[in-house]
């Protein structure tokens, strides 16, 4: 087999497989814009012939998807801000200072990432219950306030990319440690912080089992939980269900398309948590 033929064959296979991989997304998008008769048309077709937004209208009218979306936004924003803050603070200390217990504490932070939330969700739920945090935003973000991987990224950044001389110069000028952190370290670390923010946001938005447990009334459902209940009730209304699915998936797909380099590299490195 000649090299050109083999290359052509490789591309043909990869492209065919790419079509299979992307098909469910196209099918979701296509169905969501089809009027009812087209959805059940035989033989089926991908592109709507008479596109309509009625499925979206119906989805938003029968279920409070706007509220679900808002809840997801609030939880994602809270989680992202807190994770960036805790990761930056901890990463700075681990990356720039030596103190008794530093390695042990750092390793402990990292080690907790081994166990998925599902292993300890029962006691955590009981704690939330004792605190009256069930069905509240704080309760829903509680497991998403720290991220081991975030601490790790920030420690790597401060340890390797921020020169000690810069900090020492400020110390000689008499700046306090806290001021050095805020005025020198944080402004220098914005790109690393942005990377942590992306991971935190994706993690919070896509979380399912925890909001499913903690959100007990419909007005507190996230997009994921709301969609899960919606499709349970309106199973056969594939137009409205795929419309809801599109709205739920789109923010993450958009974030991924914008920041995909950071994301694939970062995730490959760590997984989440």
């Amino acid at each position: 087999m000649s090299a050109r033929l083999r290359l052509g064959l490789t591309h043909a296979l990869l492209a065919a497989w790419a079509a299979v991989m992307v098909f469910p997304f196209l099918w979701m998008l296509g169905t969501s814009f089809k009027p009812a008769p087209e959805i059940l048309a035989f033989p089926p077709h991908l592109v709507p012939r008479a596109p309509t937004v009625l499925n979206y209208v119906r989805a938003f009218e029968t279920a409070p998807f706007a509220r679900f979306f808002l809840n997801s936004l609030v939880i994602t924003a809270m989680s992202t801000v807190v994770i960036v803050a805790t990761s930056t603070v901890a990463g700075y200390v681990f990356g720039k200072f030596r103190f008794p217990g530093d390695t042990a504490i750092f390793m402990l932070f990292l080690a907790t990432a081994i166990l998925p939330l599902e292993t300890y969700m029962v006691p955590l739920y009981l704690t939330m219950r004792d605190w009256h945090w069930i069905n509240t935003y704080p309760g829903m973000v509680a497991p998403y306030l720290v991220m081991s991987f975030g601490v790790f990224i920030m420690r790597q950044y401060f340890g390797t990319a921020l020169p000690d001389e810069l900090l020492d110069a400020a110390r000689i000028d008499g700046a306090s440690e806290w001021r050095i952190f805020l005025r020198i370290a944080v402004p220098a670390a914005t790109s690393a912080m942005a990377a942590v923010a992306i991971f935190a946001a994706i993690q919070a938005w896509t979380g399912f089992i925890w909001p499913l447990i903690v959100a007990s009334s419909q007005d507190m459902y996230t997009m994921e939980v709301g969609l899960a209940f919606f499709q349970q009730r309106y199973t056969i209304d594939y137009g409205a269900v795929t419309a809801g699915a599109t709205v739920s998936a789109l923010p993450i797909i958009a974030v991924f398309l914008i920041f995909r380099r950071h994301i694939t590299e970062g995730i490959a490195f760590s997984g989440f948590r």
Partner: protein, 290 residues
């Protein structure tokens, strides 16, 4: 110097408190709670020793969940690792459109699982689903994919392979690109090509990555919940009950039957599975650095 230390500990106060309260203490409590029996309402929380674990051994739901999850994990991991490797081999050589291929293959991994599972449910629809339509081209009669446990398990496996493939692919591409060019050149000089080249050169050098990917995928597969919850709903709409998996069983015992101690015992078993797999992973990583 002392002042520096105080600064460090002060900075760590909030992150450490969060790690402690929202992770470390709950982890410890899972283990503790597994020795108690508690229904969330009773004032008493009797200590029952290993009773929860003994009951688990005879619990048909738990055994079913464990066997379903194991079958799911075995098939999903093997299929998604093999497919990911097949895709990563050409992509690691930096061919044209490589970025677009990677983007498309990775998309299902990053997208939230609920909308994906919802769409797959529509694809699997027995009467109007596109999958049965495509199968009909090959003369295959319609399959009621999500109507009985066996086919539902397969349906969830196919969806999960689709979802996790891209992640494994990225790890393989990194692993393949880390193989020093001299090895490949040496192989070419020796005249090794195609399958022999892969079998005797690439594969041994890729072994650490392969083992790592396998372990990570296995942990992920044992953790399966969301797609099962959505896709394996029974006729009455009770979610996740057609194919019982481990996390679903924990979820049900804790939050439907309020058997907190029992669910914790089950979570402890899950904990042990994850820990064993992780230790295996560390051994692999250590043997790689040695």
């Amino acid at each position: 110097m002392l002042f520096r230390y105080i600064f460090c500990y002060a900075m760590l106060l909030v992150p450490a408190a969060f790690f402690l309260v929202f992770r470390i203490i709950p982890i410890a409590q899972t283990l503790r709670l597994s020795f108690f029996s508690w229904d969330l309402i009773s004032r008493t929380k009797p200590y029952v020793g290993l009773d929860n674990f003994r009951t688990l051994l005879d619990d048909s739901n738990f055994r079913l969940a464990l066997s379903n999850t194991t079958v799911f994990a075995a098939v999903t991991v093997v299929a998604s690792v093999v497919l990911a490797l097949l895709i990563a081999l050409p992509l690691a050589r930096r061919l044209r459109f490589e970025g677009i291929y990677q983007l498309v293959y990775f998309l299902p991994f990053i997208t939230p699982t609920v909308p994906e599972a919802v769409v797959w449910k529509w694809i699997y629809d027995a009467r109007y689903g596109i999958l049965n339509y495509v199968l009909s081209w090959f003369g295959i009669p319609p399959v009621g994919w999500l109507l009985e446990p066996r086919t539902t398990l397969w349906a969830v496996i196919i969806m999960s392979v689709w979802k996790t493939l891209g992640y494994n692919m990225v790890l393989f591409i990194i692993g393949l690109r880390a193989i020093p060019a001299e090895y490949n050149e040496a192989g070419l000089i020796d005249g090794a090509t195609g399958w022999r080249f892969f079998r005797y050169l690439t594969l041994p050098l890729l072994m650490p990555t392969l083992l790592l990917v396998t372990v990570i995928s296995t942990i992920g597969a044992y953790n399966v919940f969301t797609q099962v919850y959505i896709m394996a709903a029974d006729i009455q709409g009770s979610p996740g009950s057609v194919v019982r998996v481990l996390i679903y069983d924990i979820f049900e015992n804790a939050f439907r039957f309020y058997r907190m101690g029992y669910a914790s015992a089950e979570a402890t078993v899950f904990f042990a599975i994850v820990l064993v797999l992780t230790l295996a992973q560390f051994r692999v990583l250590r043997s790689r650095t040695e």
